[in-house]
């Protein structure tokens, strides 16, 4: 039987804000355990949460960027359960009146196609702390340590409709989602630091069926690759279970990355009745329309529309547009080059995708701290286009610019790369090459004009690439008695 895979994904994403959701503690990653804490995020008796307006604004920005509506009125609820990383015994989350809902994003797929994934809701909640399980001092037993630095960090939870149809699409969705959230500067989306966590749910059904199958949820995924691998494995497991006459149980599974299998979570940990009720300490928020409009205006152009514009306005191939728009800084960098040198966007694209991104990758730096400015590259491109330097000399000059931070003219000067357009000098080079290649010269004079190219190459080599190729061509023709082109 042919099966169809149905996947929905829940993503938790830390907001890029300096302070926590309900107190002023810092959110920085990597501080000593239990140093970024105060009575509020420790849940000390008598402490009260006060909603951070900054986090709320950022969550609204995220919602708008995913095509969501922003609720006119939103509230917070308590999600009650006991766990040592949850200092209050409840998480302040949003249950039935999420901040944002009803969105969709256009996801480019690996095969070059695209698909729309609908966003059910996006809400704003607080993160928990972290547990560390270690060997206790008395040998043989284990103990758990609690670090509450992360407790209270603002999270957005983004839930999709069950629109995703394969593990590959899941990977593409996450890639595009991360790209958008980074574009709008809402989150670092770093899975290793835990600033982005993805929990997919998956079921299969006979192709053509309208009913959903029983779904399982997968946790403990620490990379996009894990998400894809776990889904591939789980889809296969479900298919084998059903084809073997069994039933898929609705449960939460943990991905074991080392063994490459999913295994059920202990039922005690999975069986929660969260007893949601409205959080009495945080008054409901009426979101002012002006704030929504203001935020909407401040959202930069998103990767999807930007890719389309690059293709249309700059005449770039889809591949170039995709690479250049993979993050906002690269796209901005490219556009800064084009702005200063508008005549040949494709040349700029080649240069950025090739020379610039290679260097960025090798140096493991951000493009924003690249040693050469976009304006400098634009100048170099202009000089090459004007013939002041040849293309190969331009690449030599670039090396100097990257190494020393020099501007294009200085680098060309310093390396003696300026194109030689002096007629006498070129005539001298031509005479020398013709003299030492009499055989080829004779053939050309005898009518084998195509061989002229090889002499041009030899003159260029003699000039170390600096001679003006058009002038070399003309001088050779003159010297060999050919008519000008």
């Amino acid at each position: 039987m042919d099966w169809e895979t149905v996947i929905g994904i829940e993503v938790h994403c830390q907001l890029k804000v300096p302070s926590k959701l309900f107190c002023e503690c810092a959110t920085s990653f990597g501080a000593d355990a239990n140093t970024n804490v105060c009575p509020v995020c420790l849940g000390l008796p008598g402490s009260l949460p006060v909603l951070s307006e900054r986090a709320l604004r950022l969550a609204i920005r995220a919602g708008l960027s995913l095509g969501c509506e922003i609720a006119a009125r939103t509230k917070w609820d308590r999600k009650n359960y006991f766990y040592p990383d949850l200092p209050k015994g409840y998480q302040i989350s949003q249950y039935d009146m999420p901040l944002s809902f009803g969105g969709a994003i256009e996801v480019p797929l690996e095969d070059g196609g695209a698909k729309t994934v609908r966003i059910t809701r996006l809400h704003l909640e607080e993160d928990t702390g972290k547990l560390f399980h270690v060997e206790a001092e008395d040998a043989g037993s284990r103990e758990s340590l609690v670090d509450l630095n992360r407790a209270g960090t603002p999270l957005i939870e983004i839930v999709t409709e069950p629109d995703i149809r394969s593990p590959g699409e899941a990977w593409s969705y996450l890639t595009e989602l991360r790209r958008i959230l980074r574009y709008i500067d809402v989150s670092d989306c770093n899975m290793e630091e835990g600033s982005l966590r993805a929990e997919p749910n998956v079921s299969i059904r006979p192709k053509g069926s309208k009913e959903f199958g029983t779904k399982t949820e997968i946790k403990n995924l620490n990379s996009f690759k894990s998400v894809r691998d776990a889904l591939v494995h789980e889809v296969d497991r479900q298919r084998k279970t059903i084809e073997g006459g069994g039933n898929v149980r609705q449960e939460t599974l943990l991905w074991d990355v080392a063994r490459g299998v999913t295994a059920p979570m202990r039922s005690k940990e999975a069986a929660h009745d969260y007893r949601y009720f409205p959080e009495p300490d945080v008054p409901p928020v009426t979101v002012p329309r002006v704030l929504v409009d203001e935020t909407r205006r401040s959202v930069p152009e998103l990767p999807g529309p930007r890719r389309a514009r690059f293709e249309k306005d700059y005449g770039l191939p889809a591949y170039d547009a995709d690479v250049l728009c993979s993050d906002r800084a690269t796209a901005d960098w490219f556009e800064a080059v084009v702005k200063a040198h508008p005549s040949d966007p494709k040349a700029a694209s080649n240069w950025v995708m090739g020379e610039v991104l290679r260097e960025v990758k090798e140096r493991k730096i951000e493009i924003s701290s690249f040693p050469v400015s976009p304006a400098s590259l634009a100048r170099l491109l202009a000089l090459a286009e004007a013939g002041t330097v040849s293309v190969s000399a331009a690449k030599e000059a670039w090396k100097e610019m990257v190494a020393s931070g020099a501007d294009a003219e200085t680098a060309i000067e310093r390396k003696g790369l300026a194109q030689v357009s002096d007629e006498a000098a070129i005539d001298g080079l031509v005479a020398k090459v013709v003299a030492s290649n009499e055989k080829i010269a004779a053939e050309i004079r005898g009518g084998k004009v195509a061989a002229l190219k090889s002499l041009v190459g030899l003159v260029m080599r003699e000039s170390k690439g600096r001679a003006n190729p058009q002038m070399v061509n003309a001088a050779l023709r003159r010297s060999l008695g050919l008519p000008p082109e």
Binding site: P39, P45, L48, P84, R275, Y276
Partner: protein, 490 residues
Amino acid sequence: MSRPKDLCLLPAHATARLVREGTVKARDVVDSTLERIAAVDSKVGAYLKVDADGARAAADAVDRKRASGKPLGPLAGAAVAVKDNMCTRGLETTAASRILEGWVPPYDCTVVRRIREADGIVVGKTNLDEFAMGSSTENSAFKKTRNPWDLSRVPGGSSGGSAAAVAAGECSVALGSDTGGSIRQPAALTGTVGLKPTYGRVSRFGLIAFGSSLDQIGPIARDVEDAALLLRTVAGHDPADGTSVERDVPDYVAALKQGAKGLRLGIPKEYFPPDLNAEVASAVKGAIARLVEAGATAVEVDLPTSPYSIACYYIVATSEASSNLARYDGVKYGARSAEAKDLYSMYALTRRDGFGPEVRRRIMLGTYALSAGYYDAYYKKGLEVRSLLRREFDAAFEKCDAILSPTSPFPAFKIGEKVDDPLSMYLSDIFTVAVNLAGLPGVSVPCGLSMERLPIGLQVLAPPFGEETMLRVARAHEKLAGTAPEAPGI
């Protein structure tokens, strides 16, 4: 200069005036108060902890401040007792629960900070029903508090320690907290003035939460002026409490001068049921009659949902409590069971041993009410009843400026009398809980004595942020009826 003997018995406004004038020293007030505590608290049991050293040091600081020519605050030198569910920096705060025994907060409750800023002196932490859950202070894990009017009787609760301390002269004024009547009912039972402000009027930051949408901190005092003075000191917006309201604080003390002439007093028949204690009914009706004679008018108002308020209250308050008390889990602070073998037994045993029976009962009630499948039938219904109550009060206040009723359906009862009958204990708050559910302000003022010479309380209610009107009525009544005499039990 010789020290007047009974400084501790003066009202705070009088004490502060003497201290500001330099007639007495803040240190004299504190010493007098500490002597009084030493003399009577073994009988009354109002305090869980007396901070004698801290109080003396604070008093000396106030005296030095005056000596250096700086102006003193409105509570200058007044001895203030603080219910032990409000955090005091460096001073153990337990909410009368074993589970918090030994816990020392690293910060002050906002109201405590404001008292210190007004040059008031915190003398100690008073007893309460564990986590403010109760109406007699018998649910304290640590001690019994006795009513200064009759030591065989309860002082009411849950702010029974604060009310008893005020009634026994063991402080000038005190802070209580009121979730369903916990300031007003003990005030009624001890012949003191107890005021529960509008929800949001006073910051809850640093108040150990019971029912977060109901809790308010308020004053307990020996006269209405002191209640107004202490309210004015602690009220006002606090950025650390998202539910505190940004609204100017009126001069409640100045408002007292206006009298009750011309005010329309609403009398809800639901608060005078046929089976109401006859002495309570006649005392309250007498007070209304005297106010009418003095120029107010009485109008009948309807509050038909009021009889459901106890049921509603015990759903809303216990639901919130079940969540608020989840943090006492043995992980971070307070008690942890030594028998725990793993995570789940740590939770279960710590909470079984750390909480008293009434707290455990309410956690279970609230957990049940919020459980899957029951939310709509209980908590959600509770919220609907709350809006209904609020609408009824709004409608009633269209017809009147203040509403008058008994505070407690009966005077102080015997210690042990109701401990085995939680439902009967819960009915102590039958006239007070609706106010919390609707978020309104209410005050209880002494209203004569029963045949057994036990105080009776008159409750005055006002629309949200109508504390001035409410205090005017309370003050007018006090002028006609007088403050309660000194408690005779000690």
